[in-house]
């Protein structure tokens, strides 16, 4: 038996197929992950992502610490509740994890990091916090629900108090607010509008059931993966890890080079890649033939295996397989992908594959 979120029994009651994910018993789907995918694209779905790691960072020098710890620049965060997507790098420029950091005050920031990297992340965050006297504390008695889709915000509003609703409705994308014990963030991992709502563990079941009664569909990890892939969002450990830099993972936009005097972990190692071009890059692939692109399939150019699929799946929105693949920097247009003893042609494209519910490619 793995760790369980406050909503575990709800998943079981809804007939979820439960799988192990990073030591947690999590719902893979509740019957059909393709159906769940469509619900998020067309209406509203909810995901239990309480297994993720939530960390509060406090102290007078917390901003200075995060300027050093993170590849993106927290000086971009100047107003309460503002969120920033960033990688946390090692000295070689490899990605320790990707995360969201929130500004809650000059002495208080909050980060949400991946479940699968919990132990190494906490050790890394704490190790580097010491010289800055930053207090690191994990938030454990909460649930996090991601409610996503074109109807998601309206559905969540029906579950909030007047004060919560007023503040939530006023949020711009990538901003959050804490009201009456709920931390409401206009963020997500699907490419749709919506919220991620952190609530006290004791109120999680009531909130989940209320949303369900209001027509929000439960969605498992299976659809979470196809939604983020269509939206062109990287998955840590599949699309990047400690052996790849953000520049090799399509995440150049998340590395803040200005101002040049800001020293962050990994900067020195990344400079040569930034000034020239990296040897490898992450691209999108679309397979027009029947078949499904999957992680670790080999990518062939001119008869040679030059790279591999980092994550792939069937895209319900496009009706064909899509993937990310890591290939040499000069690869363009078309490649072959090896699957089940065959080599099938795939188009090289720039993600996202789907934006605001609409396919970006045929």
């Amino acid at each position: 038996m793995g760790a369980r979120t406050p909503l575990y029994q709800e998943h079981v009651n809804l007939g979820a197929k439960i799988v192990d994910f990073a030591g947690w018993d999590m719902p893979l789907h509740y019957g059909s992950q393709v159906e769940e995918h469509y619900k998020v694209r067309g209406e509203a779905g909810m995901f239990d992502v309480s297994h993720m790691t939530f960390v509060d960072l406090k102290g007078p020098r917390v901003r200075e610490y995060l300027r050093f710890l993170l590849a993106n620049n927290v000086d971009r965060l100047q107003t309460y509740g503002r969120a920033l997507y960033t990688c946390m790098l090692n000295e070689q420029g490899g990605v320790v994890d990707d995360l969201i950091v929130y500004f809650l005050g000059e002495t208080h920031f909050r980060m949400v990091v991946n479940a699968g990297t919990h132990d190494k992340d906490m050790a890394w965050i704490e190790q580097h916090a010491q010289p800055f006297d930053v207090d690191v504390s994990e938030i454990t008695d909460v649930a996090l629900l991601a409610v996503q889709g074109p109807q998601a915000r309206d559905k969540v509003h029906t579950m909030l108090s007047d004060a919560q609703r007023e503040k939530a409705a006023a949020l711009a994308p990538f901003n959050a607010v804490e009201v009456e014990g709920f931390f409401i963030s206009r963020t997500g991992y699907t490419g749709e509008d919506g919220y991620e709502v952190m609530i006290p563990a004791g109120q999680a079941v009531e909130f989940w059931r209320g949303l369900h009664e209001n027509g929000v569909y439960p969605v498992g990890l299976g659809a979470r993966d196809t939604l983020r892939l269509e939206a062109g969002m990287d998955l840590y450990s599949a699309d990047m890890d400690e052996t790849t830099t953000p520049l090799e993972a399509g995440l150049k936009w998340t590395v803040a080079w200005e101002p040049p005097e800001r020293n962050f972990i990994g900067r020195e190692a990344l400079e040569p890649q930034y000034n020239a071009t990296p040897a490898r890059k992450l691209v999108g692939l679309i397979l027009d033939d029947r078949g499904v692109l999957r992680g670790h399939q080999r990518v062939i150019v001119d008869g040679e295996a030059v790279g591999e699929v980092t994550s792939g799946s069937f895209s319900p929105t496009l009706g064909k397989a899509i993937a990310f693949a890591r290939v040499p920097y000069d690869v363009e247009d078309n490649v072959l992908v090896e699957m089940r003893g065959k080599q099938l042609p795939a188009r090289v494209v720039k993600p996202p594959f789907v934006r605001h519910g609409k396919a970006c490619f045929e």
């Binding site: 893979l28 789907h29 059909s32 992950q33 393709v34 159906e35 299976g222 196809t226 029947r290 078949g291 499904v292 799946s313 069937f314 699957m339 089940r340």
Partner: protein, 129 residues
């Protein structure tokens, strides 16, 4: 619990076999198999007229999770395939023993039927997965 109708016979590799008439047999994959695989996205079927030997790989069902070979339970000739699966592979999920059938074989050696399992034996076997 997945369902295994008692009028069908089964293989260890999760195919079911239904007697249609006079030496022809309809073949599909079990409810248990479709449940393990999850949402189907593509189904590749044999050609009508194709000759099969028992245990030949003759079809592929590909789901969001994995591609899986389908083995012919019987030797013989393919006399029909389920064309509807090209546009609606999810029929295999929604109705594995009905509209989600894969192909029909005219058997050349009916003694091979003796190798197949009853529903009871199949349920016992598949409960270990």
């Amino acid at each position: 619990m997945s369902d295994a109708p008692s009028h069908l016979r089964y293989t260890k590799s999760h195919e079911w076999i239904e007697t249609v008439n006079d030496g022809t047999y309809r073949i599909g994959i079990s409810d248990h198999a479709q449940d393990l695989l999850g949402d189907m996205v593509f189904v590749e079927l044999p050609e009508v007229g194709q000759a099969l030997n028992a245990t030949d790989e003759c079809a592929v069902v590909e789901s969001v999770k994995a591609a899986s070979d389908v083995y012919s339970p019987l030797s013989g000739e393919v006399v029909a395939v389920n064309e509807a699966l090209a546009d609606s592979p999810d029929l295999v999920n929604r109705d594995p023993y009905g509209d989600g059938w894969l192909f029909v074989v005219k058997a050349s050696d009916e003694s091979e039927l003796g190798e197949l399992m009853s529903a009871e034996q199949y349920v016992e076997l598949s409960s270990d997965d």
